[in-house]
């Protein structure tokens, strides 16, 4: 039986090893015990969201259930071997390493994962330190207050004859400034404090980020809206989106668009259409008679629903990212500008022209992605008034779209500040990786 067909058996083995009853797992995964029994006896295929859910309950990676622990470990070891630039490692001997020294193999794989997580954290923090407007304002506040304290205290200490009234005034200023400094410092620490575990981004604060975090939590699929529910009901059940007016406003706009898109392209129909036509945005646009940006968004939702890796990003006419769903190997900056070579920005220079491009990300492992991008107007046409455009880019890893080896890919990066590519004509600023801080 093919390895994939043994997924049910692996689920059963894992469940039993954890001392969990079939009824309990079924309940946690949201399915009937009878259906789970069929799955465990390999009489029903399982994939997508249900596999993710069962993996979550069993606290195991999905690939360990679908492909077996050995395959997942070998993949991680090969990845670790390729990630080390300047060191020649025979990735083909990963199986031998795993077979002869399984504990060391697991240790190596886990450390590589941790290393990549830390690298992502460094990228996120660097991006934030350089471009975060709130952080810049906080730092300016702290330095201004410190300056006032330094000058005032120097006057009192150095001072010669100081009028009693001036002394009192300066003492009061010192007291007020020290209080402000305490508050500013606490706010700065709180702002920078985040999970920082390399798996999630650090210190989320902006409305866009709050919404993206919530979407991440629900797998980017809003079931209630797929079923035709109301945006108000979704917001009512998502307290983290209604704490601040700006967050709620951002969330409402996003969800209303989501609902509109779902009405035009129902999820089940999209999944079926992808099965028939493949991931072909222009064909799907004809099938559903929808605008390409809607199609790109719905493809992303459909693939996410099936547990497949997919990324999508949108930007306004200024190039500022307005929505981000990153994927492994294609990080999306939170602050500052992204790589100008992204097809997303090329689309802005050619409004209404769909762009299909294979890109290759910089980094230890040069991963390739298929992208589809388009810039479309978001305002109603008015004579003699230039429309406002929004660009959208769908990002698909090479294992989802099966890119041929000989396809020429456009080299791109994350953002100039931390991109190692030398001689890039689009470079906007020096890279800290090559030029230092």
């Amino acid at each position: 039986m093919p390895k994939r067909g043994l997924t049910g058996s692996r689920i059963r083995d894992r469940r039993i090893s954890q001392g969990m009853r079939q009824v309990a797992l079924a309940r946690e995964a949201g399915i009937s015990a009878a259906y789970l029994n069929l799955i465990e006896h390999n009489r029903r295929r399982i994939g997508g969201k249900l596999l993710l859910e069962i993996s979550r309950v069993l606290e195991v990676e999905p690939s360990q259930l679908s492909e077996g622990a050995e395959v997942a470990l070998l993949e991680k070891l090969r990845h670790a071997a390729l990630a080390q630039s300047g060191v020649t490692v025979d990735a083909g001997r990963a199986e031998e390493l795993a077979g002869r020294f399984p504990d060391w193999a697991h240790l190596l794989a886990d450390q590589q994962q941790r290393l990549e997580g830390l690298e992502r954290t460094v990228e996120a923090l660097t991006d934030r330190l350089t471009h975060d407007p709130q952080l810049a304002a906080s730092m300016h506040e702290v330095i201004s207050v410190v300056t006032a304290i330094r000058s005032t205290s120097a006057i009192l200490v150095d001072g010669g004859d100081i009028d009693v009234e001036w002394q009192a005034r300066f003492h009061r200023n010192l007291y007020e400034d020290s209080q402000r400094l305490a508050e500013s410092s606490q706010a700065l620490v709180a702002f920078l404090d985040g999970t920082g575990d390399g798996e999630t981004e650090v210190g989320l604060t902006l409305p866009q980020e709050e919404v993206e975090k919530w979407l991440q939590g629900c797998g980017y699929v809003v079931d209630a809206l797929e079923a035709g529910g109301a945006v108000a009901d979704v917001l009512r059940g998502a307290g983290e989106l209604t704490g601040a007016a700006t967050t709620e406003s951002f969330a409402r706009n996003y969800l209303e668009r989501y609902r509109h898109d779902a009405g035009l392209m129902p999820l089940d129909d999209v999944i079926r259409a992808i099965g028939e036509h493949g991931i072909s945005p222009l064909e799907l646009a004809q099938v559903f008679e929808c605008a390409v940006p809607v199609v790109l968004r719905r493809i992303a939702i459909a693939l996410a629903h099936q547990g497949q890796a997919v990324g999508i990003v949108a930007c306004d006419s200024s190039g500022t990212l307005s929505f981000r769903k990153p994927l492994d190997g294609f990080p999306l900056p939170r602050f500052g500008a992204a790589c100008p070579l992204w097809p997303l920005f090329q689309a802005l220079s050619r409004p209404a022209v769909p762009i299909r491009s294979v890109v290759e990300q910089s980094g230890h492992i040069a991963r390739r992605f298929q992208t589809f991008a388009i810039a479309a107007p978001i305002t109603v046409p008015v004579f003699d008034v230039a429309p406002v455009y929004e660009a959208t880019m769908l990002i698909l890893p090479d294992d989802v779209v099966d890119l041929a080896e000989d396809v020429i890919a456009t080299p791109i990066g994350f953002s100039c500040r931390i991109c190692p590519r030398a001689g890039c004509k689009a470079r906007r600023e020096p890279s800290i990786l090559t030029d230092g801080f």
Binding site: M139, S144, T147, A148, I149, S151, I155, D158, W166, F170
Partner: protein
């Protein structure tokens, strides 16, 4: 009467400290806090020099400096730029826009006093 200094800065306690140390040294000190009306204040007060903070509300100190240098009446006016960022590129930007001198916060009072005396030839 002492030379006149116009301090363009929005942090009240920094204003008070600088005003105290300069006036104690014999300088007449005027102050202004809003970047958007700084040029009008300079025209109205006609100072002998300007101490100009970079981060001002409504208009940056660099923009103000650029406009001062493009006006024949103020192109030679001594300007001491104050900034919280002491990186080389900020210093270079201040020079490019025509700052007479560049000082990072926090500064020492003696350093401030020395700069003002130097720029005013006192």
């Amino acid at each position: 009467m002492g030379k006149r200094v116009l301090l363009i800065e929005d942090e009240p306690n920094i204003i008070e400290a600088i005003r105290y140390i300069l006036s104690r040294d014999g300088f007449a000190v005027d102050t202004h806090s809003d970047g958007s009306t700084a040029l009008q204040a300079i025209a109205a007060k006609a100072p002998d020099m300007v101490i100009l903070d970079v981060m001002l509300p409504n208009k940056s100190g660099f923009e103000i400096l650029r406009e001062l240098r493009s006006d024949a009446a103020t192109e030679g006016l001594p300007v001491l730029m104050l900034t919280a960022r002491g990186q080389k590129k900020d210093r270079e930007m201040a020079e490019r826009f025509g700052a007479s001198q560049f000082m990072t916060k926090p500064f020492s009072n003696s350093e401030m006093l020395e700069s003002v005396r130097t720029l005013l030839g006192s």
